[in-house]
Amino acid sequence: MGRLRIGFYGLTGCAGCQLSVIFNEDELLDIIKLFDIRAFPFIKASNDEERFDLVFMEGLVASPHDIETLTRIRAKTKTLVALGACAHSGCIPAYRSFTLKENYEHLLYSKAKDIADVEPEPISKHVKVDYVLPGCPPDKKEILHFMKEIALGKTPKFNHNPVCVECRLNGNDCLLIHGKPCMGPITSGGCHAVCVTGGFECWGCRGPTGDANYKAYIALLKKKGYKKEFIKTRMMMFAGKIQPEEMKACLQ
């Protein structure tokens, strides 16, 4: 079997997730040995778009141009990976769905008439997504691990454990117990609890765990003195567009 033909693309976003790939400096040459990078417009001048075995798609859909790129690439790709929080959940840029258009429209859209916006959405709203590498930004080692699993012909697994698991492995003291509104218990791990280890509470960039106990979690935050609106805003920040039913019910 020849090298897999892969591509890296970016839609609306900060390109930080594509940078996370490149930050694997020590392994870049190994990546090139294993994979045939046909397209990577962020860093390559010449890009061949004929067909792909694997594409990492960064960014969310926020403009007609995004929809066009996404559907065009999807049609040529066997396996599509949502790379990072924007592609996975819409992330913070999609938060504009939850505020009034008149609050932001005059700031940009009335000045730059050539910019057209569409409803901001995670890419899964428009095309089939095969795998998700979540996080804002995604963990660079997790990207590598994913590539190894693909190269070995395995089925990569999504980390369903809450952030707390890695947080405890790092020996951290629990921020929730100290009264901070840490979202570790309801957020998917895989990030090595990097924020909490640095003393900053989890904001949930990797999205819901799938095993979250929202009722108990929200009750706990309320007991710690947080108002419902605050909790709601925090939970919608990254996961607003991919809220599980159980979360929605608790936020009513």
Binding site: L34, A151, L169, G171, A216
Partner: protein, 318 residues
């Protein structure tokens, strides 16, 4: 091994320092953790250490071996001579259970290498350190090289091993009476009522505990006896054939813990996972090995974000 020896309080530092350079004791940082100390003044003995000593011996992440194209290379290095001072009775018994699992029952070379050059110096609790302690209900035993009884102006030392006896003898400490069994159990620590927990499996109150559970694994991580772990392989990208196998702490509170082939999870429900932890600690381990696995330190309660007190839950069960 019930002899007591007297050590003046102001001689404690010299006594410890004379034994070796690596003395560890509970120190208040962001939490109370065991750390290397240069003077016993750094130690915080006012409360139970938030983090037990478990991770010094059974480490959070441990490389089991490296593999290169079919060949396996194991690198196991013995930890240096270390003394842990300030261990409470619960934590000493926890080390006992871990020794049993990792040394006696199964010969785990990784644990043994970390554990074997270690001396355990206890610090006796006269009474419960906090309202969640229940070591007195757990039928603990003596398991120390030396136990220290703090009498303010002086300490009474009880050697519990040959090495402990040798140290006390070499320090020429004076005999000061005999340790009575009733003085080994901290007061006010028997709050778990005696009952046959194996008959309570269908009790509806378990649901109440599970309703509060965030499945965050704080309880199992900070439990000094929990030893469940998972094993992972990671290959190098350069050849996909060489790499390393590591083990990492895991937790029965997670769905992924019982995920098997075909994505089947056999303890899907939170209440089943919650119950399994308590039953392993208080029933299954005892059925197999004759002692409670739980040592009653209460960390799984004090460090639970929602403070699920399974002891009072069991007390309420009929």
């Amino acid at each position: 091994m019930d002899a007591l020896y007297r050590l003046e309080a102001d001689k404690l530092d010299i006594f410890l320092q004379s034994l070796g350079p690596d003395i560890y004791a509970p120190v208040k940082t962001d939490a109370i953790r065991f750390q290397k100390i240069s003077s016993v003044k750094e130690a915080d003995l006012t409360a139970l250490a938030d983090v037990p000593v478990k991770d010094f011996f059974f480490r959070q992440r441990e490389q089991l071996f490296k593999f290169t194209k079919g060949k396996i290379a194991t690198e196991i290095k013995d930890a240096p001579f270390r003394i842990f001072f300030g261990l409470r009775r619960c934590d000493l018994n926890a080390v006992k259970h871990q020794d049993f699992i990792f040394i006696e029952k199964y010969k785990d070379p990784y644990y043994t290498a970390q554990r074997k050059n270690t001396l355990l110096f206890g610090y006796h609790c006269d009474e419960a350190l906090n309202k969640y302690c229940f070591c007195g209900s757990m039928g603990l035993e003596e398991y120390h090289d030396i136990m220290f009884f703090d009498k303010k102006k002086y300490f009474l030392l009880n050697p519990g091993s040959k090495v402990g006896q040798k140290i006390v003898s070499e320090a020429k400490l004076k005999r000061a009476g005999t340790l009575k069994k009733k003085d080994t159990i901290p007061k006010g620590t028997d709050r778990l009522e005696k009952k046959d927990i194996s008959k309570l499996f269908e009790n509806s109150l378990w649901e109440k505990g599970a309703d509060e559970c965030l499945s965050c694994s704080a309880c199992t991580s900070l439990c000094p006896t929990c030893y469940c772990h998972e094993v992972k392989d990671d290959v190098k990208l350069s050849d996909l054939k060489s790499g390393e196998r590591t083990r990492e702490w895991s937790s029965c509170q997670l769905k992924s813990f019982t995920r098997v082939a075909g994505e089947h999870v056999f303890r899907e429900k939170r209440v089943d996972r919650f119950k399994h932890r308590i039953y392993h600690q208080l029933v299954y381990f005892k059925e197999r090995y004759g002692v409670n696995m739980c040592v009653g330190c209460g960390r799984c309660i004090t460090h639970c974000p929602t403070t699920i007190d399974f002891v009072s839950l069991i007390n309420k069960m009929k």
